[in-house]
Amino acid sequence: MSHTINMLAKRNIQKYKKHYLIVLIVLLIVSTLIFSSFFIVDNLYQMKKNYHISTYGSWYTRIENIDEQTKKGIEIYSKDYFKDIIKYGYVDFQGKYDNYQVGHIEKNIYSLCRVKIIKGRKIQNDQEILINQKVSKKYKLYDQIEIEGKNYTIVGIIQTANKNLPDIYTNLETYQTKDYYSNMSVLSDNHYIQFNDGNNYQEIEIHYDYNPYGYDQNEIHDQVEKATNQLQQTFEFIIIILFVLFALTSTSLKKRMKEMALYRGIGMTTNQLMMMVMQENMLISFLSILIGLLIGVCVSLGYLYLQSKTYHTFIYQISFKETLFLVLVLMSCIFITILIPIYSSSKNALAGTFDSKKFNYIQVRYKKLKKQTLASLATRELWANKRMNICFYVFVLILSLYGLVYFYQGHPIQTKDQNEQSQVELIMATQKEANLFLKEFSQNDIIINHHYIDEGITMTYREIPQSVYKLCQLYYYQSNKDDLKGRFPQKSHEIVVGNHFNHVILSKEWYPNLKVEANQVTFKGKKYRVESSTSSHNDQGNYLGDDNYEIALDEVKLNEKVIIAGEEYTIVGINENEYYNDSMIYMFEDDLKRFNTSDEYYSGYHWYPIKDVIKVEKFMKKHYKARVYEMVTSDELSVSLFSTLNIPKHLLMLALAVGFILMMFLNYNHIENNYQDYLMYHIIGLSYREIKIKQVWKSIKMFLCTLIPCVFYELILLRGSIDHYFPIAQLMILVGIIFLVYLCVYNIPLLIVLKAHQNEEIRKEDN
């Protein structure tokens, strides 16, 4: 029997090849998108990572991971943890031996540090050391060498993951004494640790910036995020297919009703019928997913090959398990979606065909008959083909709601948690306003900066052109006088600068020939360590590489000259307690007047819960001329309705386009199959114009049905918002688009069909 069902299913696929071809193409497109994006995301991430590691020796700057062997976690940033870092981390002692870097390693973290022993063994006591391949050219295994007056035996030769690691390793565990950890203090963020070994203070530099482990600090977090993104994307694609598939299957089965009734009549049970139709559909689905998988592999391979030129590395790995899982998820989603129409058609095949008089009789209720208008005819037609129309409706409604929400993106009312903090910043306020601000919103953590701001002033320091960030009146020099090295200016053209004044940003834009390798910049024949770098991305968000490098020149010296806006100034004082890298320049008020600065301005900021931000902003606008800026950016906000379904814009457009074409096609199919009804209308007395108007009524009714929930949703949005933000122009565009979509979907197919069949009639008359 199952053989018979199989055979019937296969023959039916041939019979309905047009329908199944469409299903195949739709599923093919979507599965290709799913699989290619799935493979691309995964491998591109790895490629970026490898590129970064090979270029900069690190993948992100901080480490936080678990050693595979010891299962010990490594953490940074907190003072309390430094002890553990030294114990388990890699510490560069800045020691040098014969021009080799000397470091220390704890025996349990070899794998974590990506240190691989290629010859010899691990260190077992503090008399033993490891060397890398570079050093092994000079020394052999079991050679004795002397470092800082102490003898060591080379017990192993190692291979390391990147160039930044030391060349020689001593045993960390036995080398360090406990006292080392007891008196530690952090000098600046996380770069240096000062410790007391009993006699002297020493500084250890911890190279967090150059993560020797090659790990991403937040790898786990990133992987979860990546997986979530992938899942989201997949989910969105799947939702699209399901709508389309549901509509396609429903209309096709409706057409096959009589055939299905015949099967039932000659003795097929409901289950057998369902099995047959299900087999047809699942066969096609499986086939298209399989082909989609193959095309997805090709597409992703091509894309990654092109990307590999940017990243100088090519990775292509496919996880069999994940792919299989995805295929299974897709198949089960498709199964569930088509189950509903298949079940209902199979169950109602008999009654729907043989008992169809029911419908005719119900319609003849003369007493209750209403006057038929074009509008009511439209409603009746919509209702008669409700499955397809409901699919259209749901599709357009979801997109409309998303569109509605999309316009609100970036506005505080969209924030998920209204108690989240947001910054209110006072910019360019007068002194009076600043005092008011302090008085009104007085908080301990409020900071008021007094300075002149003028963008576009350039200066030349040590023959390097830079832009000036902050100019300030000497009057506002607030730091402790003990922090001032040198003296206060006594006459015009003398200035005080911050201790980061020697920090210079080299941009590839200005210095295209800048040589950067392994975190070192060669500038004017001298090598500098890169203090920080900023990466740039193209419009599509693709990583292009780091191109702004901040380097520290030699220390700022007193009496050095700086040319600011063409005039020479002398540095007479250095503020040693400057927090920021973009150092302030303090000068006399008379000097400041030469620059194109406006009045004295104040700025300050304070964090408020988001729900208060707009209140504060309004208050500020009312009382101050100052501009108030709140820090809410669209990145931090999620859209409340679709917070888990954050569809990217291009995907939305794609869905809209595909959906639109499909709706047109489905409706065309429907009208083409029922064109006799339309001709019948014409015969019984509707002009073609009236038939078209009737069709426009359909669009209007669908449009109104869509608009009502949208208006409700809009009201909910407005009600929940603090500010009654109402982007009228954008909303009108959205409403217009919705109407246009319905207008096209219902009318263009009709016009095509009518035109085709009108000609047919004329031809017949000619004959």
Binding site: K258, L262, T269, Q272, D355
Partner: protein, 227 residues
């Protein structure tokens, strides 16, 4: 003779209240084994509805149908379907055959669906009887209307049913083919002692039946036995 099919007080209505229409209005009917019964009536008289109810395709609003003593509408859908494919054969006016199957496959489909054994001798016999041996492997679209109805008849006979329901089997055929099909129905009835219920609006075709039941407005107005 034994009564093979019995219908008791069959009522099928459509619509509600004032607009209620009786497709069959309290029909009682007994059909004897091996008889050839024609149900005639004008279009919309309820004859097709009656046939569908008798064959278990449409559930009546009220009443019961017993085939070989078993109540059709007390069975669940699955049992009824199984019962139908074993004990009943069908010939309809339209949409009679599965277009994706060839002639032979169409004929044995009900048996295959039932996982039944095919009686080769019997099958050859009916194929010969119906003159289909040359068309055995043809597809449906290659056949004329008359040939298609013969295939449908062969399918109806293949499972050796107790009763064959024919719903206007000649409605779509020319006079010659119509006669051919009806004659074959008659031959099948005689040869295999089948009970045949035929619905037609054509009095001439009805005239070859043993018994003619005339229906109007859902009621039996005449029941003539020709034997």
């Amino acid at each position: 003779m034994n009564v093979i099919l019995e219908a008791k007080d069959i009522v099928k209505t459509y619509g509600y209240e004032d607009n209620k229409i009786y497709a069959t209005n309290h029909i009682d009917l007994q059909i004897e084994e091996g008889s050839f019964v024609a149900i005639v009536g004008r279009s919309g008289s309820g004859k097709s509805t009656l046939l569908h109810i008798l064959a278990g395709l449409v559930k009546p609003t009220k009443g019961e149908v017993y085939l070989e003593g078993k109540s059709l509408y007390e069975m669940n859908d699955h049992t009824l379907t199984r019962f139908r494919r074993r004990r009943m054969g069908f010939v309809f006016q339209f949409f009679n055959l599965i277009s994706t199957q060839n002639v032979l496959e169409n004929i044995v489909l009900p048996i295959h669906l039932d996982d039944g054994e095919i009686d080769d001798d019997y099958l050859n016999e009916i194929i010969n009887l119906l003159g289909l041996e040359e068309k055995k492997n043809s597809f449906i679209y290659e056949l004329s209307g008359g040939q298609q109805q013969r295939v449908a008849l062969a399918r109806a006979l293949a499972s050796k049913p107790a009763i064959i329901f024919a719903d206007e089997p000649t409605g779509n055929l020319d006079a010659k083919s119509s006669k051919e099909v009806v004659d074959l129905l008659k031959i099948a009835q005689r040869k295999y002692h089948e009970t045949v219920i035929l619905v037609t609006h054509d009095q001439e075709i009805a005239s070859i039946a043993d018994r003619v039941i005339t229906i109007e407005d859902g009621k039996i107005i005449q029941d003539t036995n020709h034997i």
